[in-house]
Symmetry: C2
Subunit: 325 residues, 2 copies
């Protein structure tokens, strides 16, 4: 199997690649063979600590470079994880960049898939930013999308394209609206949701963290492991189980800043949790307050997607993963 | 006021232009002056029977010609009716054409609006094709969009863009999901919904009409007058009444083919209604059966949008309009 991962240098891209290459993956999945012969990781840049495997080919370039995208399809591609994206605060700050990468780049990938000899299986990462504004207390699978950010708007447009390309038989697409990923390792990125990781990650390293929203602020989250497992599960599920609706709200848990800090205090002590400073940022608040905080994910649950047990579990597994590195 | 109407050569474009130029429009609308100083009607072609008025400037060209679009904004534009579109069966038959006109063309217009000296008021025609598949019996204002055609997909993408451009302050947008317009005058077009007009229009002229779907097939419809009035009302409403959600299901009535033929029989007699032949077309059926047939339009009703009284009224007003021509 030949797989393309756009945004392959990013955190999720690297984790998905690792998951797909894991030796215990044999027998999982619904492809005739789950053996990966080649995996192309496309991104604008790659870290020096990137995953090493003889099956991986790193390609540096821009998602808007149609020639580059098409060249990765020189030999047939069996599957695509389209993860490349300008994140929420980035797309809000630079409208044109968001439109170019999140829509034009998306279309470049979709059109290359369509020109492929057979419809590839495509996993697309969407977001809870698909919802916003006046929302029901609990968002369900049939809640209308009402994005309140350019990022959310562009993600919903991506979902619509994946659904229509699938209906037309050009791809076998699957869109997952991922919760905010907490605890994201590494440095902060431009995502408006980044603080929820920062207020756990930085204190654990003995560093001060800024929280730009109030302690009552609630978020719908999933651990990195949970999010990656959801993406792999979205990939593994047979097309007939997806049916005609190829967009799904992935399971997560609803956690407030205060609950996260209480858990941090329980697990790592006062010394760590006291390192968080509240400094309001109205621009971040405006984006974050527009997001939904509770979901009923009946369809995802029925299809076998899993959620984390608790914020305590998420923090403990982040500590284990950090120590393992 | 300087107004641009894309698709200005089409049936709706001509009717909207006529409505905006009507002498009794003085005092309506929420602009400081509802006087039209210039009206640019853009389309690929215009009929010889087009509306004549010294304020109208007819521009022949392609919506994909960014230079042409931008040139219409040489002087500031106060309002845009973006009606240009590849219709349902057309977008289904030629996927690339639909994407180009309904998305790229739409974006060319939106970007020209954004570059305008002040955010123009933009009215965009969307469609009930935004909905499809497994639908609730009655579609409401909060039903999730699930288009089952490329046309529907592209229209929902247009809505999302209008909402985001409005949120960003680039335009003052308003999207109306119009019911199927019945009775559309003139020749059949490529819309999959065209038969509902044909089975009334052609028999009234003494011509045979083909019905590609069964008599039980139900459709959500509005008369041309009702649709045009809804577009003008969408335009007239103050921005604050629209609020942050700039997409609305326009009122209509639910009518089956059988009910339409019964009304035709009542009004025009057996001789006319017997001119309809049922010849199933699976491609049309597939598109039409995916559309919703009943709506509760609470928000539209509250905002003062009106519906037709009955299919009998619609047929009678079509007869009067035809006789007047």
């Amino acid at each position: 199997m030949r797989i393309l991962i756009t945004g392959g240098g990013g955190f999720l891209g690297q984790q998905v690649a690792r998951g797909l290459l894991a030796p215990d993956r044999g027998g999982r999945g619904t492809h005739a063979s789950s053996d990966v012969s080649e995996m192309i990781l496309l991104d604008q840049a790659f870290s020096t600590t990137r995953l090493q495997d003889k099956r991986i080919k790193y390609v540096t370039g821009d998602i808007l470079d149609r020639q580059l995208i098409n060249s990765t399809f020189d030999a047939p591609i069996d599957a695509v994880f389209h993860l490349a994206s300008v994140v929420s605060a980035g797309a809000e700050a630079d409208f044109d960049l968001g439109m170019r990468v999140n829509i034009d780049g998306m279309r470049a990938v979709m059109d290359a898939c369509r020109a492929n000899s057979a419809p590839p299986r495509v996993v697309f990462t969407s977001s809870v930013a698909a919802f916003g504004g006046s929302l029901p207390e609990v968002v369900t699978d049939s809640t209308a999308t009402t994005p309140q950010s350019s990022y959310g708007t562009q993600k919903v447009i991506g979902e619509l394209l994946v659904n229509d390309y699938t209906r037309k038989g050009y791809i076998d697409g699957r869109c997952l609206r991922l919760p905010t990923i907490v605890v994201r390792p590494g440095k902060p990125n431009r995502a408006a949701s980044g603080f929820m990781s920062s207020i756990i990650r930085e204190p654990l390293k003995g560093e001060i963290a800024m929280c730009p929203v109030s302690a009552e602020t609630r978020m719908w989250i999933a651990s990195p492991e949970c999010a990656v497992n959801s993406l792999l599960h979205a990939f593994d599920l047979p097309a007939e189980q997806w049916g005609s609706n190829r967009t799904l709200n992935a399971p997560g848990i609803s956690v407030s800043v205060a609950e996260a800090l209480d858990a941090l205090r329980r697990i790592a002590g006062d010394e760590k949790s006291d390192l968080v400073r509240f400094v309001t940022d109205p621009a971040i608040e405006k984006i974050v307050y527009g997001w939904p905080v509770r979901f009923a994910t009946s369809r995802g649950d029925a299809l076998g997607f899993k959620r984390d047990k608790s914020i305590d579990d998420i923090i403990r597994s982040h500590i284990s993963a950090s120590n393992a590195c």
